[in-house]
């Protein structure tokens, strides 16, 4: 543990360049070690890819970072502060927001309701402001502003025609779009995207990628789990490879591509 703290103190100066740092993260489920001492960091303003075969521990890593699971060992540092063991909502409120691998739309709510839910710290989330006659005016004003933003976002993702549909009626790809649009509305500093393109058609995938690059240029940071190797290789500057809960290697796409270990792990040694 002391070694870990030293390394953090040692790297404090450039902490602002690495908003997310994961150290020795370990999670066991019974006899299975799903994540085994994972250590990596994500640079600010980059699109970093996290790849690995099924069961490599990518989603568990996401759950550990975002507080859905608490790690058995290790620490998660976001923006220079340790967030290990914080509640998911606390982590989200610090600007680290995730999407889910299997899109988790709120089925009995309309797309608009789903979207309106996302913005953080809404005035009307306090019951008394929503109910008391004198205070409700401010809530209504804010709702109108939020609704404008929601429509803009819906139009960007080209799902505005579904606005009044129940989210449960959307197709798989549409749900993915909704989920990503919703996450963006929280105004995060960093987004963890768990296979955001699964089930999204290629045209839209490209649009989404363009948008992600645009946001990245504005200073947003992305960590992306994706199965599509080509997509990762073409869009990420830095790639982290996980295998059997461990970080196998990391580097530029070119380095990863030529890494024999990766090819063996990822493709089972067949290629």
């Amino acid at each position: 543990m002391s070694r870990v703290s030293e390394s953090i103190t040692g790297s404090r100066p450039d902490v602002s360049d690495t908003p997310l740092r994961v150290e020795d993260l370990t999670k066991r489920f019974g006899g299975i070690t799903a994540v085994d001492g994972a250590t990596f960091e994500v640079e600010r303003g980059t699109l970093t890819g996290l790849i690995g075969p099924n069961g490599a521990g990518k989603s568990t890593t996401f759950n550990l970072i975002t507080g859905m699971l608490s790690p058995d060992e290790g620490r998660v540092i976001f923006d220079g502060e340790e967030i290990t063991g914080l509640e998911p909502h606390q982590i989200a409120n610090r600007g680290l927001v995730r999407t889910f691998q299997i899109a988790r739309e709120l089925g009995e709510m309309t797309v608009l309701e789903n979207m309106m839910l996302a913005p953080m710290n809404q005035r009307g989330e306090h019951l008394w402001r929503s109910v008391l006659p004198g205070a409700r005016g401010g809530v209504v004003t804010q709702e109108e502003e939020l609704l404008d933003r929601v429509w803009e976002t819906l139009e960007f993702f080209e799902i505005e025609h579904l606005a009044e549909e129940y989210a449960g009626n959307l197709s798989g790809g549409q749900r993915k779009l909704l989920e990503m649009a919703r996450a963006l509305l929280t105004d995060p500093d960093m987004l963890l995207l768990d296979e955001p393109f699964a089930g999204v058609n290629p045209t839209l995938e490209q649009r989404l990628l363009d948008h992600i690059h645009e946001l990245r240029d504005q200073g947003y940071t992305f960590l992306l789990v994706e199965h599509d190797m080509d997509l990762i290789m073409n869009n990420c500057r830095h790639v982290i490879v996980m295998h059997q809960g461990r970080i196998l290697t990391e580097g530029t796409p070119a380095e990863i591509k030529s890494n024999e270990e990766v090819i063996e792990a990822y493709l089972g040694g067949d290629v």
Partner: protein, 463 residues
């Protein structure tokens, strides 16, 4: 989409009016049904007014309870099957606070704190919501079914606590330094010997003159002792006013960012948490508010009844409220009111009323005293009359069977309730293209859909 020509406010008003019309129409049908059957039977006017008053009373209490439960289950997805516990705490604490001090005359074995009735009502509501907090704190972090177990256990603990001789009577310190004899009366119940709450309310509002006028008016049609009739009619109207107040409060709660988070918790709590919502806070506030409303419903149900016993608060009362909510459709405030009304009129009061109707129309003889004499003529000489009479006589017991059958039928055939699938939008403003200026001018869904097809965003997977 057909409402695009109207301003949002108009649309909202129109929709609200529709719901109000629905409720009013349902109440009209129920009252007309009771009145007409009463007329056919040649009920006296007194009988008619009494049956209307008691019908209104039960519609009022079940509608308020269904509304409160709808906040828990329909909005937040909190599986509370301890409704009676919160009602019991409401009325018992209210009685504790508002009963006159011991020894000030009267038949009561124990006294109270002698504080005004409104203070008692407030104390009862606060006590119910504090109990809700205590129950919720450990249980809300667990899965929904654990909350259910905790709540039903709590409601039985509350009942047995009020039954226990330990709390039957005890000394309580007073402001003046001494102690006074108070208690919950144990199994023999608690006499509610505070002044009549309705008359106190009327006095406080300065409406005694109007009330006396009403009594005189009732006296012109029912000369003999019109006071109780006027009293129960006015109390029924007050209860309907409380239903309206609950409806307003819960509609505003639901149609807000707060209500939106509650809905999200119901759908998928992890998503709400991942979006930065402190779901524990929302669940606890929602639970405590609902519990306070249940406590008030308990107070309103019992404070005019003269006495209260712990065994009134058996778990089956909780399930009555659940049936009312399921009839109306969980998640809808309008549905909750209508479900409460239908339950009260058809399932709760209906069977007894039916029994009275049949008895007075056919004037049958005495029913057999037990099942044996009832069933043997049917088997031996194919004479169904004793059995039918016995069935009619047992309508109180069969009521529960009927409720069970209705519940099973509803869950199979209409789990979404009598109004069908309801859209009650969780936002403080109508969500639609008119709400924001950002949308493109042509908002027609058809052209949008066409554009979507061009782009191929059908959600088809890449494979």
């Amino acid at each position: 989409m057909s409402t695009t020509d109207e301003a949002p406010a108009d649309t909202l008003r129109r929709l609200w009016a529709e719901d109000a019309v629905k409720i009013a129409a349902l109440l009209f049908v129920i009252y007309a049904g009771y009145l007409v059957s009463g007329l056919v039977l040649g009920y006296s006017l007194r009988g008619q007014l009494n049956s209307l008053a008691s019908l209104t009373f039960y519609i009022g209490v079940f509608a308020t309870l269904a509304l409160a439960l709808n906040l828990h289950w329909g909005y937040t997805g909190l599986f509370n099957i301890g409704v009676v516990g919160f009602m019991a705490v409401g009325i018992y604490v209210m009685a504790f606070v508002s009963k006159p001090l011991y020894g000030s005359g009267g038949a009561a074995q124990v006294g109270g704190l002698g504080l005004p009735i409104p203070v008692g009502i407030l104390a009862g509501m606060i006590a119910a919501s504090v109990l809700g907090f205590v129950v919720a704190l450990p249980a809300l972090r667990l899965r929904a079914d654990y909350l259910a177990i905790v709540t039903i256990a709590m409601s039985e603990i509350v009942r047995f606590t009020f039954l226990s001789s330990t709390f039957q009577q005890f000394q309580f310190p007073t402001l003046s330094g001494g102690t006074t004899r108070v208690g919950f009366g144990g199994g023999s119940g608690l006499i509610l010997d505070f002044p009549d709450p309705l008359l106190a309310l009327i006095d406080a509002l300065g409406l005694s003159g109007a009330y006396d006028g009403l009594v005189a008016l009732v006296g012109t049609v029912v000369p003999n002792n019109p006071d109780p009739i006027a009293h129960s009619l006015v109390y029924g109207v007050v209860l309907l006013g409380v239903v309206a107040a609950y409806f307003w409060l819960l509609k505003r709660t639901g149609e807000s960012p707060f209500g939106r988070v509650l809905k999200a918790i119901r759908e998928d709590e992890d998503v709400a948490r991942a979006l930065g919502k402190n779901t524990d806070r929302f669940k606890i506030i929602s639970f405590m508010l609902g519990c306070a409303l249940m406590g008030l419903a308990g107070i309103l149900w019992l404070m005019g009844q003269g006495a209260v016993t712990p065994n009134f608060f058996r778990p089956r009362l909780t399930f009555f409220v659940w049936i009312a909510l399921i009839i109306g459709g969980a998640g809808s405030n309008t549905g909750s009111v209508m479900g409460g009304a239908v339950f009260a009129a058809v399932l709760y009061q209906g069977p007894l009323y039916f029994q009275n109707v049949v008895t007075s129309v056919f004037q049958p003889g005495d029913a057999p005293g037990s099942f044996g004499p009832a069933i043997s003529p049917l088997l031996s000489s194919a004479d169904p009359m004793p059995f039918l009479l016995y069935t009619l006589d047992s309508v109180r017991q069969l009521q529960l069977v009927v409720m069970g059958v209705v519940l099973v039928w509803l869950m199979h055939n209409r789990p979404e309730g009598m109004l069908g699938h309801r859209k009650e939008t969780a936002a403080a403003i109508p969500l639609g293209r008119q709400g924001g200026g950002a949308g493109p001018e042509s908002g027609s869904s058809q052209s949008d859909a066409a554009r979507t097809d061009d782009n191929g965003i059908g959600g088809e997977s890449r494979e």
